[in-house]
Amino acid sequence: QDAPAPFDNPGDVNIALVRYLSTGDFFQAYLSGVEKQAAALGVNLQVFDSRQDAALQADMVDQAIALGVDGIIIQHGLTESMKEAAQRAVDAGIKVVAFDVNVENAAIPQVEQSDAALAQLALDQAIADNGAEWVAGFVHVAGIAPLDRRAAVWEEVKAANPGINEVAMFGTLDNPIANSVANQARSVLSANPNIQVMFAPYDEFAKGVKIAVDEAGMSGQVSIYSADISTADIQLMREEGSAWKATAATNPAVVGEVSVRSLALLLAGENPGASVIVPPTLITQAMLNELDIKNMEELGAKLPAFAHADVAMAPWMTLPPR
Amino acid sequence: MTSQAITIRGLTKAFGRNAVLRGVDLDLPAGQVTVLMGANGAGKSTLVKVLCGVHAADAGEIRLDGRAFAPAGPAAALRSGVVTVHQNINDGVVPDLDVASNLLLDSLAEGGGLFLNRRRMRAEAGKIAAAIGLELDMARPVAGLSLADRQLVAIARAMAHRPRLLILDEPTSSLSLTEAQRLFALIDRLRGEGVAILYISHRMSDIRRLADRIVSMRDGQVSGLFETVPLDYSGAVRAMLGHEITEVDIAIPVPGAVMLEARGLRLKPEARAFDLTLRRNEVVAITGLVGSGKSALAAALFGLEAPVAGEMRLDGRDYRPRRPAEAVAEGVFLAAKDRLINAVVPGFDIQQNLTLPFTPRHAGPLGLIRRAAERAAAERAIAAMGVVCQGPRDGILTLSGGNQQKVVVGRWMAEASRLLILDEPFQGVDIQARRDIGRRIRDSAAERATLVLCAEIDEALEVADRILVMSEHTLVGDHRNENIDLARLMTEVSGAADRTKEPA
């Protein structure tokens, strides 16, 4: 099928990815999704990495404008710093989509992995596994937007289930995060040996908690529920007697692809909608064991919902090869 | 009677339990040079530091021109006209800044305009330097200057101040004769202008040249005042020591076999080559102006810097050290000059300073240090050198300068050597300590060759069997220390100096 303009001549289409966060498996996988979908469409991609410098990220949008790109994907960032930069891009006639950052602009579709849905899925599973009465530990660092959104769901679930008794809240982003969280979790477990459920809605947190639970010899007693997934996480969840019971995740590579496709729709004059939500998948330990899944690729192959999200699609689009 | 610029009464100062000044009474009249003599550790520098506002006195009073004087800090003392040249040259200059800034350092501190005027600074600094005959590029960093020039920079700055009281704490310790002479002329001029001058020195030649009156100090108290002409120098020495000074009597032994043989040694490309023979059981002194190449010779012998040309043989074998470790392994030891820069390890106690070069000899398997052996060695060295201290575990910096010097010289005499080189071993030590160190050097000299480098001819005469003269990085004279023709020796020393003043 013939692609609409400008994709009839995709070599002339330039898009930019402006990133706030880059270090870590999630962001690397997201980038690879963006790269693969861009390549499949045949467009040129320029990547700007602001290394968690929000001011620089805004400048990079201006830079992309100055370079005359046709479309921009904004990946994470702060509403306050990106809002105006995004508006400037729109004013310059550039199509923009934003991933996981609300730039408060009607012309900019927002691609989301829905943190609320992630947290809800994981907590539903926790309640399914453990009933509605348990002693809980919660891992959280306030001030990080996606974590704050996941924490809001936790508060709702707690309010709805008075049997859930949160005895400890801790968390840190000190690098390496898993190691620092493991240290904290060890302290928490020795102060509260009656904890049954740890809600760690970020896989680096969950890894740390898992290490601490193992070290404390409490794998039989504590269950860990988290969000996000990576190959290393799969290995950890599948370990003999692992306390890590379930995680809810979207495939970051798929989110990357969806971001590019949403931008492509805009460029082709179509409308992906104000909000493009990539639905999360619940991944349980049992599931991984049954299907004998060893890495992200197998996860994608064996859980089709995870490999591809049927959003922001158009018949003329080429998908990355699988 | 001249007017008393400064009167000091009942001054006391203690560091912890160490009572250093114990009721000092002292008058410093205007227009006179008061020489302060005292053994190492008597408290001279401490007195100076109280006067210039570094330390606060514990008790007692100081009056300057009749008014009570208790400076809150060096700046206050300077404003009151009390100007000091400190004993430790590191206290005098700022190495990373240029000469001009160093010469004007105290006026920079004082205030004035906000912005620096480079041209005016250079001109002013040039004038200050010229007053003491210092010819230097004003834009050069002081770090590149020789010790003598640094000393002169500090002196020049003090001299420029039109002081009320000028304190000079061992100012000539690293100056050559000619430079010292220029300093003396300046002191004469200031004396004529009515400045009170407090001059501290261990050098009798300086004292004879300058003193109007002598105050002797012993154990933190004034032990003698000598004002009647002619000044009673031996009385002053007696008062400072508490006893008669021992006379030196050099009995020249029969030298043994040749230990070091240098042929065609050339220390600088443009210098003349020379030969040097040193024998076992022989103490040889090399004298010469500052900058004449004595330390350069030491550097060549100790493997610090390869000579431009020449062959060396040590104990009959070829000797060409590439680094100090090799020299030490061959039994060639060097006690370097300028102890604070080159020898003292400030973080260490006396014992650790004493054993520093020979830690392997006090260490067992795995390099573990044998404490008892180390301590015994340290105690032997302390006794042999007569270091005055509370114990071997005291910090080195709690010692007075002279006692520090004994430690860093003693460090190299604790083990047997083939050739011991002592570069200015008497730097800053009192006359008794000088005799002590000298005697120790001579007494232990039998099994080795000993080379003493000193700019002061007096010191050479007191220690050596043979005195060599160095000029322009080459040897120009050789004298047996017996009825020496001093006049000839002096011409050899200074003759070269007249022809060229070596750039530092």
Partner: protein
Amino acid sequence: MKSLSLTELAIRYGFLLLMAGLIVVFSVLRPAFLSPQSGVFILQSVAITGILALGVTATLVVDGFDLSIGAVATSAMMLSAYVMVIWEMGAVPAVLLCLGMGALVGLVNGLLIVKMRVPDLLATLGMMFLLVGLQRIPTQGNSISTGMMLPGGQAAEGSFAPEFLMLGRHRIDFILPDLVPLSVVVLIVIALLTWAFLELTRHGRVMYAIGSNAQAAGLAGINVAGYRILAYVISGVMASIGGILLAARLGRGDVASGNNLLLDSVAAALIGFAVLGAAKPNAFGTAIGALFVGILLQGLTMLNAPYYTQDFIKGAVLVVALVFTFALSGRVGRARR
């Protein structure tokens, strides 16, 4: 004027040549690199670290070191947000309070180091941890933005004053309309002031004297304690200016921003040692050092180099440039003497 040998020339201008070479290479590969926008962008990207680095330079000059600058900057960011969003005050009080906070932290650092004799690295490291914690306590670790929930349950009504935001966002016309952001102007002004202060005034000269030999400086009547405290106050104030600009750019008090400020600005100040063969801390060098890092990262970004190769190349170029300068000059630098 003395003529310089080839080695001396290499030492003096090697680093600047390297920088020029980089610019040429990047311009050839990506012509857009040479546009005025790109130049302004580079300046803007280094404005905040550059200002912090100039503050560090002041402490390096007196042979000190300030590890707390990053924390001071983020504290200033949080404080200004708190003042405007939660206390609902204007831009002027926000700026003044931040500057005051920076000066106070600098003063405390200085007093700890000078009066309490705590070694500089220790004192400022402790201060760093302290501030990192302190700045998050009032909001329990949350970022501060308009409409945020207050502990009382109602939403914060205040917002960032427009004049405050201008500090980070307003652009003035220069060559092109709306080209130069105010933050770049602030950087340039501060760099010039710091340079003039350190090189041209007697205070700067005296500070160098203290850094070279504090003992001798004190004996020459210089108020060593006062100047050392001053250096930390300068450093604190500069860091708070950096924090103000950061807040103005972000428009919120963000707890996650500013992680790399410390290391990046220390890097800029230290690279400054190599500029013009100074081998000592100096304001011109620091500014060039910051610019150098900005140029490198901008060029590599334009070449689509991933972030980790950027780190690698930054490190490699740093090492090579430094070896070049210091090995050739044969001088031992004064970083720690």
